[in-house]
Symmetry: C2
Subunit: 209 residues, 2 copies
DNA sequence: GTCTATATCTTGATAGAC
DNA sequence: GTCTATCAAGATATAGAC
């Protein structure tokens, strides 16, 4: 975690203040884009003055990167855990559905961090993006493995371009923060619809209900 | 078109310069986000100095809004035209595929305007977003009609939430600018994969190849 | 029509008091 | 640890020459 060099324990006031700042930054980043997220606004939302942020972070960029990274890692953790909890004999296509559900729930249930990460991926300055690349690739490989398993077990429709299909599915999920909050649709409906679309979209055979 | 109040014909130098400025803004907005798009960079890309922009636009915001609106309208025009060119007896599900293809081609073939529009939808300041809402709703209704037709003709799987399915499909397409440029996949592969996923994802019956 | 020069405003960041 | 006060940088926007 990229904090300033001030040593301190997890139980004191300081840690709570940093958490407030981080959470405020996550909320603002999840609503607006990186560039419109002003330090002053973040500080106000956290109930401190702007300079207080510099006690915890060396720069605005460091704070933003911390938030996005936490969101990224949090999503991966959720999805990975959901998959690992599955029975060893679960069909690969079913695993993909579980990943779809976990990714969606991370985005909309877990916290502002995940939404902040997704909505700002394309807006990161170059160096930040490069530092983040390793995390992104690792998460991408989680999905890649699922798709390869499904293909190897003959569950995918023949001729499907694996990588393209994978990125289209993830894209459908990652775009949901742009519209779901305004919609009157319950999260359950979003989850089941996304699973249905994905399963039938990818499956080689008509899918049992 | 939101230009300044200086009257002039379409054939003179002035119109060409404005077009250069607008195109430069579109390119920069399609690469970075709204907030990192500096007026100076746009001017440089257009081959003028920053103050020259104010001969054509009253403010930075007006220029950006012009670009996004053109992209939005351009996408809708492409999709609408592609659908209207179809034979009257085309199945509704096939129409949706044509819309998917047209939307993707508008994004990746047509111009920077469309990509600029999609990548910056979520970053617009409040008032700009409100002014743009009518255009967005109109485009949404184009898709909505397609989905309703498909449902009414029994081509959609029963129990599918129409609006959610529609927004997931469009989301998958709108997210492609985040990754497709780096990918080594030809546009044709992207188009056919997206059509396949959509068709099988939505269809009530196994789809003929 | 487009430029140079400059005014003005916003915001990230620092200094130092408490 | 957090604040007030302030600086420095960078951006939008304007004035006025050409």
């Amino acid at each position: 975690m990229a904090t300033a060099e001030v040593p301190r324990t997890l139980t004191d006031k300081s840690a709570r203040t940093q958490e407030r700042i981080r959470a405020a930054a996550a909320r603002i980043l999840s609503e607006r884009g990186i560039a419109t997220a002003r330090l002053g606004d973040i500080a106000a939302a956290a109930g401190v003055q702007a300079p207080a942020i510099y006690y915890y972070y060396a720069s605005r960029e460091e704070l933003i990167e911390d938030v996005i990274r936490l969101g990224q890692i949090g999503t991966e953790a959720r999805v990975t855990q959901a998959i690992e909890e599955l029975d060893g004999h679960t069909p690969a296509l079913e695993k993909i559905c579980v990943a779809v559900e976990a990714h969606l729930r991370a985005l909309h249930e877990l916290s502002d961090y995940t939404t902040a990460a997704v909505r700002n991926v394309g807006q990161m300055p170059t160096e930040m993006r490069e530092r983040m690349r390793a995390d992104q690739r690792r998460y991408g490989r989680v999905w890649k493995r699922l798709f390869e398993q499904a293909r190897d077990q003959g569950e995918l429709r023949a001729g499907l371009d694996l990588r393209t299909a994978q990125l289209l599915v993830i894209g459908a999920l990652n775009w949901t923060p742009e519209w779901w909050a305004d919609s009157r649709v319950p999260l359950e409906t979003l989850v089941t619809t996304a699973c249905e679309l994905t399963r039938h979209g990818l499956a080689s055979d008509p899918v049992a209900p």
